[in-house]
Amino acid sequence: MTCVSAIKKITVWLLLLVLTAGAVLADAVTEYDLKAAYLLNFASYVEWPGPPKPLAICIYGDNPFKAATIASLLKAKAGQIDAGFKYPSQLEHLADCNILYLAQSEQENFGKAITLLHNAPVLIVTDVQDGLPQGAMINLITESNRLRFEININTALASKLKISSKLLKLAKIVQ
C-alpha cells in the first residue's frame, strides 16, 4: 500500500475517532491547579477567631492560578467551604485575608508582609525554598512527583488560628 492511500484512510479513521470522542474537553491538572485546590482545602482544617463569614483567600504577587480553575474549584466545594479568592495589591490589605498565598514573585517583600501580619490570624502559605524560615506557616513542596506541605508549628501556634490535628497529621512538621 502506498503512503498516499494510507493517508486517505488515516483521515477517515481520524475523523471517526474525533467524532466519537465527543466529550467536553477542558484543562488537565497542572501544578498550580493542585496548589489552588490545596489553598481552598486548608480552609476546612482551620478555625478563625470571630463570627463566621465568607473566607478571603488572598493571592499576593503575580497570580499563577488560572481563573477557570479557581471558578471550577469554588463551584465544586460550594456546599462545604464558603470562600472567595481576592487579589490585593497593597500590603496594608493583607490583614483582611484569612488565607494568604505569597507568590514567588514577592519573595523580596516576604519580610515586610510577615512583620505586618505578626501573630495576626492569617494562614500564610507559600511555595518557595526556605518558605518556613522566612516566616510562612505552610510551605508547599514537591516530593516524589506529589505535592506535599510542611508546617512551621511555632509560627502557626503563635497566631490565633486553631489548626486541626488532622492537618498536622498530613503535614511535615518543622519545629
Binding site: 494510507a6 493517508i7 484512510k9 491538572v29 491547579d33 514573585s105 505535592l147
Partner: protein
C-alpha cells in the same frame, strides 16, 4: 538451553487463569489509571490531593519540572501505555519525536534523529530502569523489544531525553537517555492478573502482587511468561529448488520469562529483576542454514539496585546506591553439519553517591561519583566437529566517573545550567570530559526558549577492542571469509550537539515546540575491511546530523491526549568526500501522531497511533516508506477489569526494513487481545 514450545499448555493455563480472575473481580475496589482532571481535584479532600501525581522528570538525576530542563524531554505515562496498547518498550519509543524502530528479526533497534543503531546494538543510547544502567558491559547494548527484561505493564512512565546525557551519565548517553520508571507497590493494592493472546500464537501471562502497608513498607513482586510461535517469513535471497519462495516458518519462535521485585521502606529501597528471552533465529543470519529451527539465541539480563536516600537538611539531599548486573548470551548457529556456539557472559557491580544542595540562593548544585567494576567480560565463538576455539577473550575492567552540575536561577525569566563529568575507563588511555551548558529563557509566561550545547561519548566496548578470529578457508583450501584483528588503540567516539528550541503554549492548553539541532560526531567506531584478509574496528572521521522537530501536544481534562510531531532529518557522512555524502538508510521525514480519548462513556477508551517514515536509501537498496498505524480499544466493564483489543500496523505497510539483498521481512499487521484484572 532452549526451551521447547509449550503452546497448548499455555492456552489451557490461560483459560483457567481467566476463570480465576473473573471470580476475583467480585472483590476489591477499582484503581483509576487515567489522568486527573480539574473537576476531579475539586471534589477531593486534602488527603486525596496529596496522591495526585505531577509530571516531572528524574532523568536529570534530581526531580525537575519539564519546563525547567534545558533538554528536550518526552514522557510517556502508564495511561498511554494502556490506552495505546503498547506491548514493548520499542512500541513506546517509536512514538517519540525523531525516533524510529528497526528490526532485523533478532532485536529491535531505535533510530534517533536519522541514525539507525542496528550496528551499535542501541549502544548510542543510555537505557536505564529507575536510574540504573541496563546497557550491559560486553556490547553496551540496550535491549528494547520483547528482550527488554521488564514487563511493560510494570512501567509507571518512561522519560526520554533527546540529545546527549554524558555530562551526568558518562558512557553511551550519546544520542539520547531513556529512563524507565517502574510502578510502586502502593499503586497495586493487592494482586493483578493479566493475560493476552496475539498474532502468531503469542500467549503472555503476568501475575503481580503489591501493596503499601500502614507501617510504610511498600513492595511489589511480579512474574511474566510469554510463548510465541512467530510469523512465517519470506526471504527471496534464500530461494532454492526445494523452497522456491524462500519461506521459513516455526524458526522465529520466542519463549520469555521475566521476574521483578521491588520494596521500599523509609529511606531504603530495593529492586531487582531478571528477564530471559529464547528466540529462534530465522533467515539464515550470519550465513547459517536457512529454515533450520535449531538456530537460536538467548539473552538473559539481571539487575539489582539498592538505594538509600536521605534529606540531611532543608537544603541538602543525599543519595547512595549499590548496583549489580549480569548479562548472558548464548547463540547456537548451524553451518552445514557444523554447530557454532557463541557464548557471552558478563557481570558487574558498582556504587554511586550523590548530593543535591540548595544551600546557595538560586543555585541547585548536584555532584556525584559513580564507579563500576566489570568483574567478567567473556566472549567466545566455538565450533564442534572438530572442536575448535574460533575466538575467545576474557578480561575485567572498571570505570569511574565524577560529575558536577549547577542549575542557576538568574532572574525569573532566565535559568542557566552548567555541568561536566569526567570518566576514566581502565581500557582507555585518556580521561573523557563531557561538558554541558544550557539556558532556559521565559520571555513571556507562555513562551520558553531553550539552548543547549553538550558533548557526549561512547567508549569502544570489549568486542570492538578485543574480538579476534582467523581467516576461514573452504574445504578445498580456497578463501572463505576474512578474519578479524583486535584494536586496542581505539578511542571513544564523541559527539557535540547544539540544540535550540522554542516552546509556546497557546489558548492555555496547546503546546507547540520547535527544536533545531546540529550534531557533529568524530572518531566514530565502525568495522572496516582493514586489508583483503582482515576486518577491524577503527575510529573513522566525522558524521554530522542536523534537522528540526515540530511538536504539537494537548491533554484534555477527560484524559484525552494529542501528541503529534514532524521531523525533518539530514545526516551526512564526511568520510566519503569533501562535499559530504548522504548516509545510508536515513529517513528524510518522519511524522508521528498519537491520539487517545474516552469514547462513548468513561468505560471506553480509544487509542490511535501512527508513524510515517519516508523511504530510506543505501547504495545497495531502497526501502520504501511506510505509514504504520495502531488502533487500540480499551473497555472497563466493571471497575477492576480492563479488556483491550489492538491492531498494529493496520494497513500492513511496514513490511520491510533495510538489510540483506531484498530487505528484512517484518511482521506486518498483527493483533492482540488482552485482559487485566485486580483483586
Amino acid at each position: 538451553m532452549p526451551d521447547s514450545p509449550i503452546i497448548p499448555g499455555s492456552n489451557h493455563r490461560l483459560k483457567s487463569r481467566l476463570k480465576l480472575s473473573i471470580a476475583a473481580l467480585l472483590f476489591g475496589s477499582c484503581i483509576r489509571v487515567f489522568a486527573t482532571e480539574v473537576d476531579d481535584i475539586g471534589k477531593m479532600d486534602l488527603e486525596q490531593l496529596m496522591n495526585v501525581e505531577l509530571e516531572t522528570v528524574t532523568a536529570s538525576k534530581y526531580s525537575q519540572k519539564l519546563s525547567e530542563t534545558a533538554s528536550q524531554v518526552t514522557i510517556v505515562g502508564k495511561d498511554q501505555i494502556q490506552q495505546f496498547g503498547y506491548r514493548t518498550l520499542s512500541d513506546i519509543l517509536r512514538t517519540v519525536p525523531g525516533f524510529f524502530i528497526t528490526n532485523d528479526r533478532m532485536y529491535d533497534y531505535v533510530g534517533v534523529r536519522g541514525f539507525d543503531q542496528s550496528t551499535a546494538l542501541n549502544g548510542r543510547m543510555l537505557l536505564m530502569i529507575d536510574g540504573n544502567r541496563i546497557n550491559e558491559s560486553i556490547f553496551d547494548s540496550g535491549l528494547l523489544g520483547s528482550e527488554f527484561p521488564l514487563d511493560v505493564d510494570l512501567i509507571d512512565h518512561v522519560e526520554i531525553v533527546r540529545g546527549p546525557g554524558s555530562s551526568l551519565y558518562g558512557n553511551n548517553a550519546f544520542f539520547a537517555v531513556v529512563n524507565v520508571v517502574t510502578k510502586d507497590g502502593g499503586s497495586f493494592h493487592g494482586g493483578e492478573l493479566a493475560g493476552s493472546y496475539g498474532s502468531f500464537d503469542s500467549y503472555k501471562g503476568r501475575f503481580s502482587y503489591g501493596r503499601k502497608q500502614n507501617n510504610g513498607l511498600e513492595y511489589l513482586i511480579s512474574a511474566t511468561g510469554l510463548n510465541a510461535d512467530g510469523p512465517t517469513l519470506r526471504y527471496p535471497e534464500h530461494a532454492s529448488p526445494d523452497n522456491p519462495a524462500g519461506i521459513t516458518s516455526h524458526t522465529n519462535d520466542e519463549h520469555n520469562k521475566q521476574f521483578f521485585a521491588k520494596a521500599g521502606w523509609g529511606n531504603f529501597s530495593f529492586e531487582g529483576g531478571y528477564g530471559r528471552r529464547y528466540k529462534g533465529l530465522p533467515g539464515g543470519a550470519y550465513g547459517t542454514n536457512f529454515d533450520d529451527p535449531s538456530n537460536s539465541y538467548q539473552d538473559s539480563e539481571a539487575f539489582v539496585n539498592l538505594k538509600y536516600q536521605k534529606i540531611l537538611s532543608p537544603s541538602l539531599a543525599f543519595s547512595a546506591r549499590a548496583f549489580y548486573g549480569d548479562y548472558d548470551f548464548r547463540g547456537f548457529y548451524h553451518y552445514g553439519d557444523t554447530i557454532s556456539a557463541a557464548p557471552v557472559h558478563t557481570w558487574w557491580s558498582g556504587f554511586e553517591a550523590n548530593f543535591v544542595s540548595r544551600h546557595f540562593d538560586n543555585h541547585t548544585l548536584i555532584g556525584g561519583i559513580e564507579a563500576q567494576e566489570n568483574w567478567l567480560q567473556q566472549q567466545g565463538i566455538f565450533f564442534d566437529n572438530p572442536y575448535t576455539v574460533f575466538s575467545f577473550d576474557e578480561r575485567d575492567s572498571h570505570r569511574i566517573g565524577v560529575y558536577l552540575q549547577d542549575d542557576v536561577v538568574l532572574t525569573n525569566q532566565l535559568k542557566l545550567s552548567v555541568g561536566a563529568r569526567l570518566d576514566d575507563h581502565s581500557l582507555l588511555s585518556n580521561v573523557l570530559v563531557s561538558p554541558r551548558f544550557g539556558i532556559v529563557y521565559n520571555p513571556l509566561t507562555d513562551s520558553t526558549v531553550k539552548l543547549q550545547y553538550a558533548q557526549a561519548f561512547r567508549a569502544p566496548n570489549v568486542v570492538h577492542q578485543y574480538q579476534a578470529y582467523p581467516i576461514t578457508f573452504n574445504e578445498d583450501g580456497t578463501f572463505r571469509g576474512p578474519g578479524r584483528l583486535p584494536n586496542t588503540g581505539l578511542h571513544a567516539e564523541q559527539i557535540e550537539t547544539w540544540e535550540l528550541s522554542w516552546q509556546q503554549i497557546f489558548d492555555h492548553n496547546w503546546q507547540f515546540t520547535v527544536t533545531g539541532y546540529y550534531m557533529d560526531m568524530s572518531k566514530r567506531l565502525e568495522e572496516i575491511q582493514q586489508s583483503p584478509e582482515f576486518r577491524q574496528v577503527a575510529n573513522l572521521d566525522a558524521e554530522i546530523g542536523y534537522g528540526a522537530e515540530f511538536e504539537l501536544q494537548r491533554r484534555w481534562n477527560n484524559g484525552a491526549l494529542l501528541r503529534s510531531s514532524y521531523s525533518l532529518i539530514f545526516a551526512e557522512d564526511m568520510d566519503r568526500g569533501s562535499d559530504g555524502y548522504i548516509l545510508s538508510n536515513v529517513p528524510g521525514h518522519l511524522y508521528q501522531l498519537n491520539l487517545m480519548a474516552p469514547l462513548f462513556n468513561p468505560q471506553w477508551h480509544g487509542g490511535f497511533d501512527m508513524q510515517m517514515l519516508s523511504s530510506r536509501n543505501s547504495p545497495q537498496s531502497k526501502t520504501p516508506g511506510y505509514a504504520r498505524i495502531g488502533l487500540n480499544l480499551l473497555y472497563q466493564p466493571i471497575t477492576n477489569l480492563n479488556l483491550s483489543a489492538g491492531v498494529y500496523d493496520l494497513f500492513d505497510d511496514n513490511r520491510l526494513e533495510p538489510g540483506g539483498i531484498y530487505g528484512i521481512p517484518q511482521e506486518g499487521r498483527t493483533f492482540r487481545l488482552k485482559f487485566q484484572c485486580r483483586f
